[in-house]
Symmetry: C2
């Protein structure tokens, strides 16, 4: 009776070393660090990396799994908040703090089609949570009525840009940007908007552009 071959101990060890090295490097420099640098940090060869992960994106996916969970947690917490506006703004503050201290996070939303199983799953779980917060904020009259859940990526995209540009130089400047933008989302500030929100299909296609 042929037992399904158990994974060898060195294989397990090396996989763990790779993930640990990648986690550290992604946090410091974003996912664009070269695979060569990752293997060097992990003390293994290129072949080892590509035996464990068919592609760099798959490694990214594996490394960012924790971050996925953390983000989902933030959204669940936000959805439970009695004050929907506070929940929404708090969610963005936390999410962007995460990005500010871990540059890998910014790419979570953006992983390429292929190695993005977990990222897709995360987005799918996130969507209804955020939709509910927006809906409840509308009901509570604390969010302008013409703002839709599909406008949310706008906040993430643009604040990420601010973080990328200013984090090394003024690590809290993004908070100023976020405050300015949020002030425009209050019902009292609303003036008629000149263009429609994105459709789901448009949003998906825009997501594809996130990679350079």
């Amino acid at each position: 009776m042929p037992t399904a071959a158990a994974t060898r101990s060195d294989a397990l060890r090396n996989r763990a070393k790779l993930v640990a090295a990648a986690r550290q490097l992604f946090a410091k420099n974003g996912v664009e660090v070269s695979v060569e640098e990752i293997t060097r940090h992990a003390g293994v060869g290129m072949g080892t990396l590509y035996r464990h992960f068919p592609t760099k994106d798959e490694l990214i996916d594996a490394v960012l799994e924790d971050a996925f969970d953390e983000i989902i947690g933030l959204a669940e917490e936000a959805a439970e908040s009695a004050d929907a506006w506070a929940g929404l703004t708090g969610f963005f503050e936390r999410l962007l703090e995460l990005h500010a201290q871990n540059r890998g996070v910014k790419d979570i939303v953006a992983l390429r089609e292929h190695g993005a199983r977990r990222a897709d799953a995360m987005r799918a779980r996130l969507r209804p949570l955020l939709a509910r917060i927006v809906e409840r904020a509308h009901e509570q009259g604390t969010l302008r009525a013409d703002f839709t859940p599909d406008d949310l990526p706008l906040i993430f995209w643009t604040a990420n840009r601010v973080i990328e540009l200013t984090h090394d130089v003024a690590p809290n400047y993004w908070r100023r940007y976020l405050a300015l933008l949020l002030d425009g989302l209050r019902p009292a500030a609303a003036t008629p908007l000149p263009a429609a929100p994105l459709t789901r299909a448009q949003l998906t296609r825009a997501l594809g552009r996130l990679h350079r």
Copy 2:
């Protein structure tokens, strides 16, 4: 009496062909088109390009000269507007329209240190004009008091990001974003901001990050 050698006619012609080809390609695809593609479109060899322009950035600089002038023109027009708020918002609308139809424009602010003589000059001319508009809007009470001229790049940076991501898919979506953000800049919308504006030095360093 040795006359200073007059430039040969073919050299002049080829230089013009290069600039024309680059202008067209930059507008359609942004400045990241390869030099090989530029020479192919111009119908000249690589050597010819690099005899006329010591570096790709110098070529970019030459090509975007017109756009520089156009932007300065927009700012002057805005500075003359009696209603400073209308001038400011109009300026950004026009500037971003320019970007939406000419992808090269987005890089104007960002040219690398070296081949950026003209870009630097443009920024230097732009700064006092924009500072005046902001000041007058403050006087007229149409812009929140805690918004400074050094916060203006925020609008450009973030709106550019929206254009890059959505232009092919929803060419006017950036207008929606701009409207949301501007609604946050009105005095009535203002809540206290959690972080200071960038200093001039910080701004300069952040500019350096614009190139990926």
